[in-house]
Symmetry: C2
Subunit: 142 residues, 2 copies
Amino acid sequence: MKIGELARETGLAPSRIRYYESLGLIGAVERRLNGYRSYPRETAQLLRIITGTQRAGFSLDEIRSLLPQKSGAGWDRPKLLTGLKQKLADLAALQASLAATQADLEFLIARIESSPPDGDCFDNAQAVLDDVSQRQPAISNA
Amino acid sequence: MKIGELARETGLAPSRIRYYESLGLIGAVERRLNGYRSYPRETAQLLRIITGTQRAGFSLDEIRSLLPQKSGAGWDRPKLLTGLKQKLADLAALQASLAATQADLEFLIARIESSPPDGDCFDNAQAVLDDVSQRQPAISNA
DNA sequence: CCTAAGGTTAAAGTGAACTTGAAGGTCAAG
DNA sequence: CTTGACCTTCAAGTTCACTTTAACCTTAGG
């Protein structure tokens, strides 16, 4: 699989894929005789995992630390497990924070929908904002 | 409340708070006679909402479009509601994607923990990676 | 053979989100 | 009345995550 095909399959720009490789996120890529990169099928999944983890709030540096290098000398299993479990905890925290944000949004929407249909001016806006502000901490901030 | 106190309370740098103001995220801030900014108590909550929404994957530009400007001429209620509901949908999608990532991680951890304690070398790593790659799409990519 | 589409590298450019620096004003304590 | 902590503005600097550009090579098709 050439880089263009992989790009089409994942929706990522070829430049982005090469960039990830340059950061060590993809490991060593096989080359054809002409110098073209040749990817195994799994790379698409790997890229999806990378972008997904990214959207979950992890930096590319953090992601690299999680991904085992195919080309590496070997794994440090305990270290890897610790890292993975840490990320799992992070993920849970992020999800909680997301849920809180979602609750905030839902509350805000309900408040607006149930407010008097005629009075849509400044005071109303202020009241809604105040209501939202009054709610519990909701979001745990790093 | 002066900017330093607000900074301490929220854990944000004063420069960051001024930056948000410059982007129109905080609206008009009251000033004392000496020119110092003076914040009402709610601002801390507002900042927490901003950072939380940010962590949920929204840009400051998007966040501004969601936040009503206290100083603005008025609200466009239908437009606001549409925007909020769109964000809610986005949030749900992001949560689903997070859950999938979490499932991936849990699967990976289980796989590593149950693998032969002696064979912790390259082949093992490759097998784990392949297993993970084989799982369902898991992450919906933008 | 020529062309168009796609591949290669290295280096420079971009946009978002901040931070830092310079140069200065304010204020309470000693 | 000076010192230190805090405030002000504005411009410039930084980091991250890419993209774009330039110069060049490869391959398939008419």
